[in-house]
Structures are given as structure tokens and as C-alpha cells.
Symmetry: C2
């Protein structure tokens, strides 16, 4: 079934208000979850919402605990998320990084002790919508073996880069550092599909496309094998150092994935050039990529972020696809 | 054959002095090439040196054209490399980013119109040696197809993250965004070896580990398939916008790989914490990764940068491995 965007967002808003969110927070948080579904990231929109409300109901997440600055030096600030509502704290931190970029050309906010930010792309789009370049990432619990390892000691730390165009058609790459998320493995297994490329190891230690085998061993592949493994370790170190926050290892000792370390970097190209110049550079790159000769007949070559717009248009026109059972659960919350 | 580090560096220095480098530049540039070989990155050390001298001799590269700042806003500066000596310009730009981080906590220098910086890791180690966290990258000529494309319209843009420890055992990841460089493909083909994992497509459009097939089609794989493709496009856009420099597309219209756009970001954790705290966080992450259960019997799981130290120690003790023919060529320059 497909639900109009406004109806979905109003429902999220209603539930959040009933859980003690104030008007502004309920509006902002409902937008984040509704926009994630609007862009086709259902795993961090509609499908995740009931679990988030469970956390709120059980007191594991307190929406009144807001991120605050604990120390600062000019364009570099360290914030503490106090394990409040992850996406709102991350949004505040990215807004602050943009404000710092306004003042200094570039700004960085290291946000420690925050809860899960849901979809990393949210904060890239947020900054790009206001004309900033953004680089941001979060660490996670240990959910991936380092290259050459059996046991999971690194995170699939989602990494985001956003470059703005004033018409909103930003270049936004948002990728976890595992080749496939656990959600994608489950989805493929349930659909009886093999993965399009190797996603991990089977119990014989061979690379495989079989999602069920990978779920059994837990040996998911870092993207680019040794490369994603190295990037994951380095991003965890930067985040933990700058936030004086929890590294992946320590997050693994908590009951759930909480107390994460996140980094938001914003740069203001507007301090050097007018938006028209930035637009023309970004457009020339996007157009050049789009002009590639497709490998498959009738195929299309995309720049990152482009498909979000296609999904967004379709979902605005026809409503957002939701699993009926989940929608009923949300309405009953 | 193996040549002592000091002898190698002295030889580089002699050649550069004979090509009009002043004392300071010859010393700095000789160090960069010698250190790349010392760390085992021979492709951007000894093996590359004769070609660089060719460029100097033919006037394609002028060591007297130094990078300079063209515009600035607080912690964000735009520099022009004037197509001078790439590695020295990149080094100056990273030094400047560190100086900005001293003043603002974070600093960014976008360096346009520079020549090839050789090994990206050089600038990560440089910043980390002085206690800074560094993130830097360069774009390249179009040398890789975007995901889903036949023709090469994106770059394998090397990307570097460095996190310091005061004993020099930094975490440094330095990876091109292709799964394998063209150098590695050639090396495997000459040795009659298959690649350890898929590296590109054969002429039937199938993924393959056969380096000769990939060289034939030119269809190298981005690391992580669609993920590396997206990252490459985004990093090109950030670099071209911030430097107002050449994007990958335009570099493809030049005679050789020149006029590149590079970004150097430095953050100063020392503005928040003393080095002992940073050291302890980085060490706990490195030790945790090292403590992984290896997949292969007797195997070892590394953090990025760790193997450079092992190679460095071995090469300092036993001399740097050089191809005799190349060494003879360098001595005759």
C-alpha cells in the first residue's frame, strides 16, 4: 500500500507528541523519518519507526536530553549527545557545523555519546540544502571483521559526502563501509535471491553471494575488501579522538548500539564564489557522468544522489510504499 | 639489489640540484621520493623518479613555479599550484592546512592546478608526524568507468586519512578508489598471477581476476563497486568546487595527468586534549584490531599504516630494494 507523504509525517508527529516531544522536536523528527521513507530508505524511515518508539517507551532513549557543547576551539567544537534522540542531536550538530563554516569557512563538530542517527544521508542533504559541502560519518557497534579476520572488531561506519546545487539536485554519497548491510542480506535471503556481487564468506571460508551463508558466518565483507577495512578503522579513530567518545570496541560492550561517536564537517563554498559558479561545476560533473556509455542496453549511469530524486518524485506522486502490517502498528502506537 | 636509504636520497638530491632545484627544495623533494621507497611504495619512489626528471628536462614541470594562495576566508584557503612540482606544492598546502588548524582548530586548503602529488600517504604521514589528523585527496584523469558504465569518466582519486600517535605509529589509510591500480594490474600480469579478488571486467562483460583481460577492456572496478564510484564523483566535485579547479573531465582533455585539484584538511586534536589522551584512544583501537582472530593460520590482522612501519624497519636495516636497471638510470641522470 502507498501512503501520502503528509499523512505519514502527521502520523509520526502524532506518535512523537504522545511520547513527550515538544512541537518543534516532533515536527523535525517526523520530517527526518518521513523524508527517509520518501527517498526510498525505508529501513531508516517507516520500518524503523516502531522500534524507535519502543526505545522511547522503555526509557532507553530520552528525547529531552539534548546535545550540548562541552568544549570548543574556534571552528572545532566537541559536543555530548547525552544519549538523547540520535537524529535530532545529529541534526543540531550539523547545523552547528554549518554555522561555524559561516564564520570560519569550515567547521567541525565532533558529537560523542549520541544514539543512532538513522540515515547518514539526512545530514548531508540538510547541509547541502543550505549551500554547504558536508562530510560526516558515524561509528557503529563492531559488526564486521577487519580484513583477514574471523571476528567482528570494526564497524561498518556510514560515511557521507554532499555537494550542493541550488536547485536541490545535490551530489550525495551515503555508504556504509560494508559491501551490504545486514538489512540487505536479510532482504535478499527472504526473496530467495543471490547478492549481485560477493558480500562475505561462507562456512568454508570462501567468498560468496549467498546471503544466508554470510548471515551464518557473520563474516560480511568491507567494501573494497582491505580498503573499506582500513577506512573503517581510520574513521573510528578520528571520531573517537575528536569527540573523546566511544570507539567501536567500547560500543560493543553496551547493551545496544548506543553512545556512538559522530563527526560533522561543513565547508562554505559561498565564502569564495557565488552559487552560480558552484552550480556550474557540480552540474558539469553530474552531466559528464550521466553521459557515460551504459554497460547494459537501455541502462543509465547515475551520479550519487540522483536516484533519491527519482524515488522522491515517484513517492510524492503515488504515495510512499509501506508494509501494511507496519503501518497498522504505527497507527496503533 | 638493495641501496641504503641515505645513498638513495643523496642520489635524488644530486639529480634535483642539477635540474635547478634550490637546496631546500632538493632536500624536501628527495626526502619525499626516498621515503616513498622506504615505505615500500616503490611505484611512487625510485620507479617513478626517472619519469619525473624527464618532465623536468622537457620543461613540462617547472620547479620554480610554487603554489600560492589566491583567496582565503579564515580557516579556508584556495591555492593555485601553477603546475609546478606536485609533491612540493602538496606538501606546502598540507603544512598550511596544519597552520590553519593551529589557529582555528581545523583548516582546509584547496589546491587547484597542481601536478601529480605522487603518493597521497606522504601528506597524511606529514600531518600526523606533527600531531594533526589529516584528510586529503586528489582527483586524477578519467581512468575508471562509473558504476554501470563502459567508458572511463571518473577518477580513481586517491583518498587519505591519518590519525597521529606521538611515537609515530600513526593510523594512515591511503587508497585509490579503484580496487587495483593500473600498476598492480601490470605487475600481476607480468608475474603471471591472477588478482586476489575481482578487479574489473573481461571482454564478455563478466567480472574477472585476470589482469590482462582488464587491461584490454580498461574496465577497472571501483572499490566496493557502486560505492567507490559514488565516492569518486563526490570527491571530484568537492575538490573542483573548493579549488575552483579542474574536474576529472577537464583533466582528461590535457596532454598528461596535470592541473589536478587536491584538498588538504587538518584538524588539531591538541586544541582539546593532550597528546597522551589521543595516543591512548588510537592505541586502544589499533590494539583491538590487532587482537582479531586471523582467518588464515598464522595470519596477522593489521591496522592501516602498520605495515609501512614493518617495511620501513626492514628497508632501513637491509637497504631499499631497487631494480638494478632503474638504479643505473638514476645514477646516469
Amino acid at each position: 500500500m502507498r501512503i501520502p507523504y503528509d499523512e505519514l509525517k502527521a502520523e509520526f508527529r502524532r506518535v512523537l507528541l504522545s511520547r513527550g516531544f515538544d512541537e518543534g522536536d516532533a515536527e523535525a523528527a517526523a520530517s527526518i523519518f518521513a523524508d527517509n521513507s520518501l527517498d526510498g530508505v525505508y529501513s531508516h524511515g517507516t520500518n524503523r519507526f516502531p522500534r524507535v518508539v519502543e526505545y522511547l517507551d522503555s526509557g532507553l532513549m530520552d528525547p529531552h536530553r539534548k546535545a550540548g557543547c562541552v568544549s570548543s576551539f574556534m571552528a572545532f567544537e566537541r559536543w555530548d549527545g547525552h544519549r538523547g534522540f540520535g537524529p535530532l542531536n545529529a541534526r543540531i550538530a550539523m547545523d552547528r557545523a554549518c554555522a561555524l563554516a559561516d564564520r570560519f569557512g569550515i567547521g567541525i563538530v565532533a558529537l560523542g555519546n549520541n544514539n543512532h542517527w538513522m540515515r547518514g544521508g539526512t545530514y548531508g542533504w540538510q547541509a547541502a540544502d543550505k549551500g554547504y559541502i558536508a562530510i560526516c560519518w558515524s561509528n557503529t557497534m563492531p559488526n564486521m571483521p577487519a580484513w583477514g579476520a574471523m571476528d567482528s572488531r570494526i564497524g561498518n561506519n556510514p560515511f557521507v559526502i554532499a555537494v550542493p546545487r541550488s536547485d536541490g539536485h545535490h551530489i550525495v554519497v551515503d555508504c556504509a563501509l560494508s559491501q551490504f548491510s545486514y538489512g540487505k542480506l536479510e532482504e535478499a535471503r527472504l526473496a530467495g535471491r543471490m547478492l549481485p556481487v560477493d558480500g562475505g564468506y561462507d562456512s568454508e571460508g570462501r567468498l560468496t553471494r549467498d546471503p544466508a551463508e554470510i548471515e551464518k558466518t557473520g563474516r560480511v565483507l568491507p567494501m573494497g575488501y582491505w580498503k573499506g577495512s582500513g577506512l573503517s578503522i581510520a574513521l573510528d579513530a578520528v571520531a573517537a579522538v575528536l569527540a573523546d567518545g566511544n570507539p567501536v570496541e567500547r560500543i560493543g560492550t553496551f547493551d545496544k548500539e548506543e553512545g556512538l561517536s559522530q563527526v560533522m564537517i561543513a565547508v562554505a563554498p559561498g565564502k569564495m564564489d557565488d552559487a552560480a559558479l558552484t552550480d556550474s561545476i557540480v552540474s558539469s560533473i553530474a552531466d559528464y557522468v550521466n553521459g557515460s556509455v551504459p554497460a547494459a542496453e537501455g541502462g543509465k549511469v547515475y551520479y550519487p544522489g540522483q536516484r533519491s530524486w527519482e524515488t522522491r518524485r515517484d513517492n510524492l506522486e503515488h504515495g510512499i510504499p509501506v508494509v501494511e502490517e507496519i503501518w497498522e502498528r504505527i497507527k496503533a502506537l
